[in-house]
Symmetry: C2
Subunit: 295 residues, 2 copies
């Protein structure tokens, strides 16, 4: 199976798992549940849950054990997209080629659908924790703690991004925003997979470095796509960042400069995987995928 086929298989698996958690549609708040489903099942790439699964599988085969955490991270990711798109924040109309949540429903519903997905992530973890044997709890409690801390960082990063929109920014702050807004969650995914699989401290550190590098690569690529991507493929408007005078790697280093940093960082990420050979093949391909994706 080549990378694309394998990626597709992972995406299908994630979607099947997410479907298990979709809320019922016959209750009084059915439109809220529909709004949550609209965003959660709205065509994301599922990179975050896949990162959890693939990292877990370097060490262990029973991938089902990490699925509640993979699902939870995708819920958090979608909550953050819904809130970021709101008129009060980025005011975006289109996401994954479809109307954003507040455009499809309304602002109140979108705020609460975001809150609902946010909380559901913790419900999913709490349900799993309640049914975990005592001797397996310590890794999961560590994961829960890292999870809530990474989400805290993501919110801080999003706040900084909003505050510095259209304002001059130092390189230090640009890095701070990316590190918190995007990279913290990707780093969390890899660490969750490794911790849940009881990886050694050394492995955990190596994989964390890989994660930090692809996290940075992901953001740089996002900035490049926002500048030169194709609107119909990307599913969102191109050139918006410039219009909003957003601070990005492209505005800071130019298009060519950003691409060079992206290539260097991707190589470094892959270097961290060399000891794992075949077992980390997918993570290696994923780094290239992040570098070369067109949406």
């Amino acid at each position: 199976m080549n990378f694309k086929e394998q990626l597709k298989e992972y995406q299908t698996k994630v979607n099947q798992e997410l479907e298990k958690y979709l809320k019922k549609q016959e209750c009084p708040e059915k439109i809220l549940n529909h709004a949550m489903e609209y965003s959660l099942m709205g065509g994301g790439k599922r990179l975050r849950p896949i990162l959890v699964m693939v990292t877990y599988q370097i060490f262990k085969d029973d991938v089902q054990k990490c699925m509640p955490y993979a699902v939870a991270i995708e819920m958090i990711h979608n909550f953050s997209l819904i809130h970021d798109d709101l008129p009060g924040i980025d005011n975006d109309d289109v996401r994954h080629g479809k109307p954003t949540n507040h455009k499809k429903f309304n602002e109140a519903t979108a705020i609460l659908a975001g809150d609902g997905l946010f909380n559901q992530a913790y419900m999913v973890m709490s349900e799993d924790l309640k049914h975990t044997k005592l001797e397996e709890l310590s890794e999961k409690l560590e994961v829960f703690s890292e999870f809530s801390n990474a989400v805290d960082r993501m919110i801080a990063g999003e706040y900084m991004d909003t505050e510095y929109e259209g304002k001059p920014i130092t390189e230090e702050y640009l890095t701070y925003i990316h590190k918190n807004k995007t990279a913290a969650l990707l780093r969390l995914c890899v660490r969750m997979g490794a911790i849940l699989a009881k990886a050694t401290q050394e492995d955990l550190e190596k994989l964390t470095r890989y994660a930090e590098k692809i996290g940075l690569a992901f953001q740089i690529k996002d900035d490049i796509l926002s500048e030169e991507g194709q609107e119909e493929i990307l599913g969102k408007p191109v050139g918006n960042d410039k219009e909003l005078e957003k601070c990005t790697y492209v505005s800071q280093y130019g298009l060519q400069g950003a691409k060079e940093i992206l290539e260097k960082i991707t190589k470094e990420a892959i270097e961290e995987l060399k000891e794992y050979g075949e077992k980390a093949e997918f993570l290696k391909e994923l780094a290239y995928y992040i570098q070369n994706r067109n949406k």
Copy 2:
């Protein structure tokens, strides 16, 4: 010490505990942290954390053990107030006699400050869980699960309240909204206190009935105050509900009808406590306090 003095002492204790968790003010996202603190320390009655503490103390003396959960519930309560006040939802300008979060800061900051407090509640619990001995974990995991489920109900209730604003509503749906929006969290507080103190199933059920009754009483009193309260004491505009054609107990049963239901429900709540004698004196007084408060 009379009830008022004791209430004040509990409020001081809660405020001291909350202060331990205030986020630092020397980081890049300091305004976000300031916005979180603005709402969290903005003069709430602290009823929810006090309910946790007082219920816990019926059974056990070491109240410090339940404080992380008391703190977490106050954070969730404040997140929900910030989001409910947003222009996209209730569009309120004043809360506790001061500008609402989005009025004091801006909408983006308020959305993210709400998200931040929401997540911090889970951070506080995850930190406590990580440092709990294995033999004490099962109660705390039960509490974590009930916590996330109650927040899910609160969000559903808030959604329904928004959806039915200015529309005719059945009594069934009015009850559904109150049960979820307000009562679920108050019920959770009492249950958390009892579960953390390892109360018996019978005690848990009795106290749950008490909680459900004061939860309903709380909402009815809120509706009455929104109709006939004094703006300068209440710290928010009076008569707004009528203007917005909100569904309330007053619009449904009239002012006198609502007051009669409130009195009956309060009596029933107190009935549930009679076995605990002196130990439940504060909970009993609290029921009267909810019935008679003017803000």
